[in-house]
Symmetry: C2
Subunit: 444 residues, 2 copies
Amino acid sequence: MSLEHLRRDLQYQYGPGASPLFVYSCATLVHNVRCYLDALKSMHSWKDVVFQGAAGVLAYSMKANGNPRVAAALLEAGVQRATCIHYCLDSITLASTPLPATSRWEVEEAVRGGSLLNVDSIFDACRVVEVATDVGLQAKLLLRLNPAIDALTHPYLSTAMADCKFGIEESQVKQVLGVLWSARNSVKVEGVHVHLGSAITDLSVYGNVMQSVSRVLYQIFHYNKPEQIRQFGWHDAAVVNLGGGLGVFPAPHQLPRDHPLALIDTGTSMDPTPTPADLMKVVLPLLPEGVTLILEPGRSLVASAGVLMTEILGVKTNGGKVFVVTDAAMTEVIRPALYSSKHPVTRLTQPKTDTILKEAAHLVDVVGPVCESGDYLAKDCRLPPPAVTQGDCLLVWMTGAYCSAMASNYNMRPHVMEVMVHGPANYKIIRRPQNFDDIMKEYQ
Amino acid sequence: MSLEHLRRDLQYQYGPGASPLFVYSCATLVHNVRCYLDALKSMHSWKDVVFQGAAGVLAYSMKANGNPRVAAALLEAGVQRATCIHYCLDSITLASTPLPATSRWEVEEAVRGGSLLNVDSIFDACRVVEVATDVGLQAKLLLRLNPAIDALTHPYLSTAMADCKFGIEESQVKQVLGVLWSARNSVKVEGVHVHLGSAITDLSVYGNVMQSVSRVLYQIFHYNKPEQIRQFGWHDAAVVNLGGGLGVFPAPHQLPRDHPLALIDTGTSMDPTPTPADLMKVVLPLLPEGVTLILEPGRSLVASAGVLMTEILGVKTNGGKVFVVTDAAMTEVIRPALYSSKHPVTRLTQPKTDTILKEAAHLVDVVGPVCESGDYLAKDCRLPPPAVTQGDCLLVWMTGAYCSAMASNYNMRPHVMEVMVHGPANYKIIRRPQNFDDIMKEYQ
């Protein structure tokens, strides 16, 4: 199904409620899952990976996109776990919570659900022990490690530096293990969790990470003194969860052939980003033998599968700068304002190629209608002629992750519709657009 | 009613759902309105201002806080208009839309409601003409002017610079007036709107603004050629809307006496910010005679009336840095991450003064449980002993504006409860906390 066709169809049915609109491609979700599974295959046979999940497990970090239909499509494509404390849908397993602290009821829920739960600090260890003792079930734990490593990404997206709030620094691991060991009937340490951050492009950082992971695994195996191995230590603790963090890797169908990226050039880097196979090449040689490796990506599974369609409200000029004003805003895509991230923008309908070659491009900002200057989708884009105009449709790419998940009702703007495209002639609305009553519902 | 009492009361009734929690003080709202009305009094008698609204009009920009009970409290205190395209409550008038572009249905709504509507660009002028002609009612318009002035605030909060998306630059005013004049049966220009941005502390910028405003008013009066005055021009166009933008000014009861700001020092500047009276002192001498002045503040009316109460989930140390982890997050208060804004943080329960004086303060970050490093409420705060601990309650001040209004469900976090305190023993829940079903409601 072409995006033009989809747009016309939804406009006919829903009128103005059909724009802006997130469109997710099921084919791209499947492709992204396949890239990870193929990479994990290098650990064991494909069958092991998919059906037994012993040596390599692919999990999905639902905070990237919480739409249950997106998670379901990933699970159907081969993802084995989707991480989210609140979900308990068929075949979605409650897994580790990647948070630095969770409320007591959340820990309780995870313990009752038999989830693999992250322990993030000494106080977190004490609470997990307390809750597990109260519940009367043995909690399965990973130590969330802070390896004091700079992931060389945006500071807000870097989550493993020495002075960052996440995880347990190595010098405190012994103390945390002490707390947990003293309550070993209620808790069992299964291994280590490390998550370096998002949008990582330089995989060399994993060298130091794996060294740190190995040291901590050794500490867990040999808890207290070496002679107590297999007597007191958690000798079968052998799970390493490396979290997510790969930059979005190129997928062949992330941009449809008739919408070349260059139509509106946002300065997005086209440098190749590392793939799951590249990650495995770095990580596998450093992984201790017999370890079950969990990868738990978010962004790299869903970002490239999502596109935001938005209508141009008008074009204006101020201070010699051209502004293309769209009906989408920072309320749908806050990443440019918050992380200075760059999203490719294209037109829905492609102008004739010879027009483009003959004339020069203009510099434009693509901005939303929200009342603040931080409300932009892309800055200083090169827009080749012909000029876009009111009513035209733009596509903002790579918006499957951390866009609808971070949406707000700022300026009284309702959450927008979400659609999943399945194959050439089939789509399904997977989130209806909010209306004014939805926004006002909680006020009393 | 003390905040301790309020907290205990709500915890008893709602359990964990009572934290985090926004508390608004009705007394502070009334105080803030009074400051503006007193300042506007200098234009005419108090009676004129409040009951006839001719010379000075106080409006409220609802995007700062969209809770209808907050708007209602402001209206009761003397605000004459509350600006929001969607509202049509008793005594809330649809007023100008401060947006750079609005959808067709929004313009239609505003024209039907007889609102004073901003025209932001040439394309906007064309659309207003089209809609007003279709509707068959004469639309009342203000020209949103871009005076090309730097408001000396955060770039995202500055909305009147030359290369910013908002408003019409002076060189384009004639063209816009041409479009509107040719449809003068459908539209009437009533005056000019200028909004410089938020958190302005240096009022000297208004000198240049008022010059620009005067020039454009003159153009409107004298449309086309001077000899056509009072024949073709909109000779009674005499409204100047200066928008909002004052920094939050100190109010005597913005911090309760028993919670001195210094308890946790976030480095918030205590320099005096300009008051509405200061603004009027600068603006009035520059205002053309006979003009109706609209002030349309948001932040300075509501920010100081709101406080976020949040419980400490735990305290941890990484890289020598102390992190106080709270149950509130960037999902409730995104301003520190987005604008580097600083909010005072205090403890709910005050430690003994002599303890504070004897011991040194620690540097701490107050962070939320959301999985990214941008999730912080305050950085590098000085926390005097005794140390805070799990279960203690912190107060994040100045959170009445652009906090709940920008809230998201990121990390599956529900919108939090909001409470209005009326007098010493009376409070009312004005927004119930969201539950998981609310978040999932639109998925299908």
